[in-house]
């Protein structure tokens, strides 16, 4: 027994001729329907070209519009013609003009012989369907759709809305349980004949003529009434993209199609010469009864859809400009640490941290004059230059790029009130950021500076207010970064456990014991300095509660660190 084919075509009739000829030559009868809107001359050419095959027939041309019943009518006409002229076929395969066979016809015949009496048609109840675009599933059956979706979209949408608002719902004929599925099926002769000769066919036809996209519903529903054995899947390999458009296969999909083990695929790009040559040209490789395996493709498709939905965190590019609604995604691709005040308090903090953790530690990346990359580099990964102006043209992108281009190596940098503050909002909302802040530490270099005290007081006031604004970002409740804040006084009280926290925070996987500590600046007399600021009318509250003269009682010797246990 053999399979017969119906081809519904509307363009690229030269490819239709090739595929129909391929099947007819291998003794499968073919019936072709060509859309009435296709070019007449092309149609004549198609007929002439296939005249030598007595097993290829043409049905009367109807004008087919997507989503309308005319496509089903054409299919019914073609099925009637095919069955009445070919007694020896056991299955009928519905194909489109952009289908391409992927495996030898004998294998398909053998496969269908093995599954005699089985109807291959995707047929799913409307509740199970997940793929309808536009939210019309059961409503396809209960509303009326007299207007063309392609040409009269507004009226179409408006009429749907109107029916919904009025609560109009029409009756579904008795015995019809709405099912949906792929338009492309392979039915047994018996089932198809039963559908064609159903005494209620007129009722069904008139009902389905106002169902929305009946080609995905007519056979899928009626087969439930007549079939004895349904395999609810399509033998045609086809995929739809995110917006419900059929995916097109190009020449680069050759291997993918070969590996799918499916019998027929659609849609093939009509100019993909390589595919037509490869699959229609010579003898196809025999696969010896392997089940079609479209799932192989699904993995690849799932990956693409995932990438589409989630993007790649932290990659900001013109092709994927972050959208407002994606703004709560991580803004960078990997974790990084921001240190504030540490390099003011410790003269060798950067080298110490780099040595202790083996990670990359930059200076003040957002320094107003120049970007202080680690090792004073002038250009960094990703071709980021150390020009402050380039950086400030889009500082957020600068930071995201730096983190993106140094993946695999944890980045830390110094930050403080003397720097450009533009990234405060961006980084505080980034779950990849860890902030370690000693507020008021900017006072330490001022304390050591030889500047005139009035000047010191002014700078201190400015730094404090800049820092306060920055810390506000870190304390607001939308903050998504990890934030640790100590005042200078708190920090100086118990530096050891805090430094340990930092080592753990930079690299949580390694447990590093604090054996060597950085060199802390001499704070002898710092208490008086703070008091003097207060006496001048400034309140250095961010320094914390720094008791007068405390440090002078216990001078910190740089040679012998404050505590080693």
């Amino acid at each position: 027994m053999a399979v017969g084919f119906i081809i519904l075509a509307h363009e690229h009739l030269d490819r239709v001729a090739q595929v129909a000829g391929y099947w007819a030559q291998r003794r499968s009868p073919v019936v072709i329907h060509v859309d009435a809107r296709a070019d007449d001359e092309d149609y004549r050419e198609l007929q002439d070209g296939l005249a030598r095959f007595d097993n290829i027939r043409f049905v009367e041309r109807r004008a087919c519009e997507w989503g309308r019943f005319s496509i089903v009518s054409a299919t019914l006409d073609a099925a009637t013609l095919l069955l009445s002229n070919s007694d020896d076929i056991s299955h009928v395969f519905l194909a489109s003009g952009s289908c391409l066979p992927l495996r030898p016809l004998e294998e398909m015949n053998a496969y269908l012989d093995k599954h005699a009496g089985t109807d291959f048609i995707e047929s799913v109840t409307t509740q199970e369907v997940t793929w309808t675009v536009g939210g019309l599933d059961l409503e396809r059956f209960t509303l009326r759709f007299p207007f063309s979706w392609k040409r009269r979209r507004r009226i179409f949408d408006g009429y749907v809305k109107l029916q919904r608002r009025l609560g109009i719902s029409r009756a579904i004929p008795e015995g019809v349980r709405p099912h949906l599925g792929s338009q492309w099926w392979c039915l047994t002769r018996e089932t198809l004949e039963a559908i064609l000769t159903d005494p209620d066919r007129e009722v069904y036809d008139s009902y389905f003529s106002t169902v929305w996209i009946p080609d995905e519903a007519y056979f899928q529903t009626l087969v439930r009434k007549h079939s004895t054995m349904i395999e609810s899947r399509s033998l045609t390999l086809s995929r739809f993209d995110f917006q419900g458009k059929p995916h097109v296969f190009y020449e680069d999909h050759l291997q993918l199609l070969q590996r799918s083990d499916c019998f027929v695929a659609r849609k093939i790009w009509p100019r993909a010469n390589l595919l037509y040559r490869e699959f229609l040209g010579g003898d196809l490789k025999k696969l010896a009864r392997i089940e079609p395996n479209p799932r192989k493709l699904d993995k690849i498709f799932a990956k693409a859809i995932d990438k589409r939905l989630n993007g790649r965190d932290g990659l900001q590019m013109q092709s994927r400009f972050p959208k407002a609604h994606l703004w709560n995604l991580p803004r960078t691709c990997a974790s990084y640490s921001v240190f504030e005040g540490f390099s003011d308090l410790f003269s060798n903090f950067e080298t110490w941290l780099e040595k202790r953790t083996g990670t990359r530690v930059h200076g003040h990346l957002f320094n107003k004059r120049t970007v202080k990359f680690a090792g004073n580099a002038t250009i960094y990964n990703g071709c980021l230059a150390n020009s402050a102006k380039l950086r400030d043209y889009n500082p957020e992108k600068f930071l995201a790029s730096l983190i993106w281009n140094t993946q695999g190596e944890h980045q830390s940098f110094q930050f403080g009130p003397a720097d450009r503050q533009d990234i405060s909002g961006f980084a505080s909302g980034d779950p990849n950021a860890s902030f370690f802040v000693i507020t008021g530490a900017w006072a330490v270099p001022l304390f050591h500076s030889k500047l005139n005290f009035q000047r010191v007081r002014r700078v201190a006031a400015r730094y404090q207010s800049i820092e306060a604004r920055h810390v506000n970002w870190l304390r607001q409740h939308e903050v998504r970064a990890h934030v640790n804040i100590w005042s200078l006084a708190e920090f100086v009280e118990t530096p050891m456990p805090i430094l340990q926290t930092i080592l753990d925070g930079v690299d949580p996987t390694a447990s590093r014991k604090l054996t060597e500590v950085p060199k802390m600046a001499d704070l002898t007399g710092f208490g008086q300095f703070v008091q003097k600021l207060k006496n001048e009318g400034m309140n250095p509250h961010s320094v914390g509660d720094f008791p007068l003269g405390r440090q002078s009682d216990q001078p910190v010797s740089p040679a012998k660190p404050y505590a080693v246990r």
């Binding site: 680069d252 100019r271 589409r308 092709s319 230059a385 380039l390």
Partner: protein, 342 residues
């Protein structure tokens, strides 16, 4: 939030601007004289290439070869005063129509007025590719999927325009160290690029995403990043005679056509225009251009840029990447595969 009336006012102003651009093109058509007109060969759905050139005899053989392979069926080219045989070379090509103009390149909005006229006249209903002779378009799968596959995909989704990032390609070492031979693939020499120092800004009112930076920002404009040339382009458009490019191919009106990058809800693929400007000839050309002052709206701003190029610099740096093909560009995010792949 913008109020409805100011939105309408904006839309109206842009409409006036578009009509003004079209009117300019109409007036400037007299500046064009036919050198060789083969436009009768253009078939109904042919993909057309538009370009304005001046002394590009060196680059044209590869340019034509590349775009013919991608499926551009006819080229419509305006020659602006070449004296190196460009005009004669183009006139010999079987699929090229050539017009000549001796008028100012700058005053014709860098050739855009001339091309707009040719697009009004010949581009209506066609997919039109507008590229300079030193711009080579690549996009996902371009070896196996010619432009017609791309335009078919876009047509099926009613997407009328396609965007690309211009990627400045440069050699390793000083610019004149390697001499380019006509016909050679320029990216055998210019095989390095900057991959992540691009800066994009969204212009809300015109839906336009401006991209600047890259190697030219790094080397020539580190102190004036806002003066660095724009790198966002919209080279491929399903043309309508009412459309008009605004400044080069960076922006177009009506503004909806500017939604070619992440601004689009459709997730289209994007491409990259490999820029072959920095071949050895750029040094002499810069000397000439600095004098002509025909290339930028604020020409004097760019004196130091030309000086920099005339100094025969080495633009390469440790972090530069070697060009390996479109897959690499897609992986880096310089182009997007969108929903076009797999």
């Amino acid at each position: 939030m913008q109020s409805t009336s100011s939105k309408l006012w904006m839309a109206y102003k842009l409409r006036l601007k578009r009509r003004w651009l079209l009117w300019r093109a109409l007036r400037k058509r007299h500046q064009l004289s036919v050198v060789r007109n083969r436009t009768r060969q253009i078939t109904r759905d042919a993909i057309l290439g538009f370009s304005t050139v001046r002394n590009e005899i060196l680059r044209l053989p590869f340019f034509l070869k590349h775009y013919r392979a991608l499926g551009v069926e006819h080229f419509l080219i305006v020659d602006n005063n070449s004296d190196d045989g460009t005009r004669e070379y183009l006139a010999e090509q079987p699929d090229v129509s050539v017009w000549g103009s001796t008028h100012s390149y700058k005053k014709s909005r860098f050739g855009v007025d001339w091309l707009t006229w040719l697009q009004i006249r010949h581009g209506h209903g066609h997919w039109c590719l507008s590229v300079d002779a030193d711009e080579i378009l690549v996009y996902p799968d371009n070896e196996t999927r010619p432009l017609r596959a791309l335009t078919g995909w876009l047509d099926a989704r009613s997407i009328p325009s396609f965007g690309a990032l211009m990627l400045d390609m440069y050699p390793k070492g000083r610019l004149d160290r390697q001499i380019y031979r006509s016909g050679q693939n320029p990216f055998e020499i210019l095989c390095w690029f900057d991959h992540d120092d691009y800066i994009s800004k969204m212009q809300d009112r015109t839906y336009y995403l401006s991209v600047q930076g890259g190697v030219r920002g790094r080397v020539f404009f580190p102190n004036e990043p806002s003066h660095a040339p724009h790198l966002n382009k919209i080279p491929l458009v399903k043309w309508n005679r009412r459309f008009a490019y605004v400044s080069s191919t960076h922006a177009i009106l009506p503004r909806r056509l500017n939604k070619v990058f992440g601004q689009s809800a459709q997730n289209p693929p994007t491409g990259v225009l490999l820029h072959s400007k920095f071949l050895h000839v750029v040094i002499d050309k810069s000397r000439e251009e600095k004098q002509r002052q025909e290339h930028f709206t604020y020409s004097s701003r760019y004196d130091h840029y030309y000086d920099g190029l005339m100094a025969n610099p080495d633009m390469w740096c440790e972090a530069s990447l070697h060009y390996e093909g479109w897959q690499q560009l897609a992986e880096l995010g310089l182009m997007s595969q969108g929903d076009w792949r797999p």
